[in-house]
């Protein structure tokens, strides 16, 4: 069935591209749409009770509006075939993201949001400068048209500068080391619903934009080989994996811990893209999909903990495995998937990444991946240990949790197992997407 997929093109306003704007949906967009709409539907049901608890009553309507705007922006980015249109949708999603992050109960949410606003605006401006440079040199904004026209002018400083600006701009949005400073606070202090949705989607969309610009528009030869960006990506990716994992071990707040873990997971994707090979790209896309499942379920579980304890500090979680068995069981599944235990989604992408690394005979990096898995085991293990092997404080009883939250959490958690055992969909779409990017006709 998946082999039948071709690229869907929708011409807006009845003007043929490059005059008008077209939506262009290929397998890569489909993968993103699956992540976005899946996460958004589950998060929306989960939000009913969570938002009621965490957001002031008068602001709930506006909060939902902003949440939908974020989603609209992210979906727009994933399906548009026009470079400037990417920027427009990026602005929609970014502005609304800053607003909903600032709605966290903790006062520090405001500062986190402000920090993200400054960095994110610099990122968006850089992307815009890059797109403007491309327009000056080619006279077009349509992605496909750009891809055809850039090779003729590729050997100019303007195109190289455009590449650098776009990469750094998208790198900020994707929390690529060393541009990640905004992420831990933004994830830690935002409302549970927001951190769940952003962790499952936002950085993935940024990685998607990177793939689109670098592989489709600039072309693989130019961006990965001519600009020696493959080496840079590998180095930054590896640093992200190790740095993120090590920082995660030292966090006392579990939400912050998972935020640092996200930086490490982005590192995996960047490293895989840096391999500049078919298996590498496939591993990157697979991990994009699987990481959404992993982080979605983990942050949802933490949202339920927050719902009951109004905190996600590790210290409040002692004995929580007995008082909130369902929630912590789901958290454990997500955690195992994050470590990459066989039978979970996390294992699948790690497996493909290690295979791709060995294909490129980069066994030292493959060893580092295994080391990082041990680090992951340490920080996930800390939470599991506190939850299951420490006694609960005196007089705590089983806590009641809204059914909507538990059910959506378990759907997320079980999808980790399902996509760990049945990889047809995730692997099928990913490898088809890579075929389309590289230009291999299946």
């Amino acid at each position: 069935m998946l082999q039948e997929v071709d690229v869907l093109i929708y011409t807006l306003g009845g003007w043929q591209a490059p005059l008008g704007i077209e939506l262009r949906i290929d397998a890569l967009s489909v993968l993103l749409l699956l992540i976005l709409s899946g996460s958004a539907s589950l998060v929306s049901i989960y939000a009913l009770k969570s938002v009621e608890k965490e957001i002031a009553e008068g602001k709930q309507v506006l909060f939902y509006s902003a949440f939908l705007l974020v989603m609209a922006g992210l979906i727009g980015i994933s399906i548009t075939g026009d470079a400037f249109n990417v920027f427009v949708f990026l602005e929609i999603s970014s502005l609304s993201t800053y607003a909903i992050i600032s709605m966290g109960k903790d006062r520090r949410a405001l500062h986190a949001s402000y920090q993200y606003l400054i960095m994110g605006t610099i990122g968006a401006t850089f992307i815009l400068i890059g797109i403007a440079f491309l327009y000056v040199m080619t006279g077009t904004l349509n992605m496909n048209d750009l891809a055809q026209r850039i090779p003729a002018v590729a050997d100019t400083s303007a195109i190289r500068a455009a590449f650098a600006f776009i990469t750094i701009g998208v790198g900020i949005k994707a929390a690529m080391l060393p541009l990640h400073q905004w992420l831990p606070n933004a994830y830690a202090y935002s409302p549970s619903v927001v951190s769940t949705f952003l962790a499952a989607t936002a950085t993935k969309v940024a990685v998607y934009v990177m793939i689109r610009f670098e592989l489709t528009i600039f072309g693989i030869e130019f961006s990965l080989l001519e600009m020696p960006f493959d080496k840079i990506l590998m180095i930054l990716g590896t640093l992200g994996i190790l740095g993120g994992s090590i920082y995660a071990i030292y966090q006392s707040n579990v939400k912050r811990m998972l935020a640092y873990s996200s930086i490490a997971q982005i590192g995996y994707m960047l490293l895989a893209i840096g391999l500049a090979s078919h298996p590498g790209f496939t591993a990157a896309l697979l991990h994009m999909f699987n990481h959404a499942l992993i982080k979605g379920s983990l942050f949802m579980a933490l949202g339920i903990v927050f719902f009951r304890y109004a905190s996600t500090e590790l210290s409040v979680m002692s004995g929580i495995g007995k008082t909130m068995p369902l929630t912590m069981a789901a958290f454990t599944i997500g955690g195992l998937s994050l470590i990459g235990v066989p039978g979970t989604a996390g294992f699948v992408s790690k497996w493909y990444l290690v295979t791709a690394l060995l294909d490129a005979s980069l066994w030292p990096i493959a060893l580092l991946i295994l080391v990082a898995s041990v680090l992951t085991l340490i920080y996930v293990g800390r939470v599991i240990e506190v939850a299951y092997f420490r006694p609960a404080p005196e007089g705590t009883t089983q806590k009641k949790v809204p059914a909507t939250m538990i059910v959506t959490l378990w759907i997320f958690a079980l999808s980790n197992i399902y996509f760990g055992l049945n990889i047809d969909i995730s692997l099928g779409i990913s490898s088809l997407a890579v075929d389309q990017i590289i230009g291999v006709r299946p």
Partner: protein
Amino acid sequence: MIENLHLLIDVCLLAFLILIVFATMKITNLFVATMLFGIFSFVTALLFLDLDAVDVAFTEAAVGAGFSTVLMLSALKLTGAVENAKHRHSALGLFIVVLTGAALIYGTADFPIMGDANAPVHLHVAPEFIQLTQEKIDIPNVVTAVLASFRGYDTFGETVVIFSAGVAVLLLLGMGHVEPKQEPEQNMVLWVVVKPFIALILIFGLYVQFHGDFGAGGGFQAGVVFASGFILYSLVFGEAYARKVIPARVLPRFSALGVLIYGITGLVSLLSNKPFLDYNALSSNPISGQHMGILLVEAGVGLAVFSTVLLIFYSFSGVNHNE
């Protein structure tokens, strides 16, 4: 001779910009810094004007020099106008700024010469835009044709961006409320001068809105101009009176309505089996369909921008000092 004159003007304006930036960095009085920012925007608008980008210049003047200056002043009212913090010179920051500047200069080294008729931007889609605007849309202002029809989807996105900004400000600051007793200082001269001015501003706003197909301007500029009439009224006669004319609670609805008008225009095309935002579907004659479509979406943009701008102003000025 004329060419050289243009070049001379450009160089002078750019030199002004550099001076203003350094002055802004040095000055500790935030009120003065805000005014300098306004001047910066105005000089930028003049630059755009000299480059024949009239619509862009108009927007920069209305938003950059006008509205953002008012907003910054509203913020200063809440925070105080003198900087207490010592300037911390960050070496890393300086390095990043210098690096960015160097990258920009490096990148522009291979640009086509300014005004080169053979530059890629003039050879690829631009000629088609000009030709098709005459043939299929039939309005004099090609900029309006590009933003409202050829790239109408982008403009729809931009309208949603404006709406998002309104939602964000409401989430953070709320609507605010004004004590009806807050009377501004009685200043006869100001009152007499401002009253006829406001009428002129509102009329000019409407003119810019509906004349956008023929001259500079359109929904974005008109929305800001129209809102600035109300803002001027609040500043001079007191906000409580302005809120009697347009209550704060209707503004979010108006803002959403503006986006809705734009979206529904697109949906009408969908219902007649044409692509989203294809204005040919709006009428039996494609050209009048285009005219109607552009009029409608510009009206949506104008309404959304006007209400969001005014809403943001209300939010800022309605913040309570005691909170």
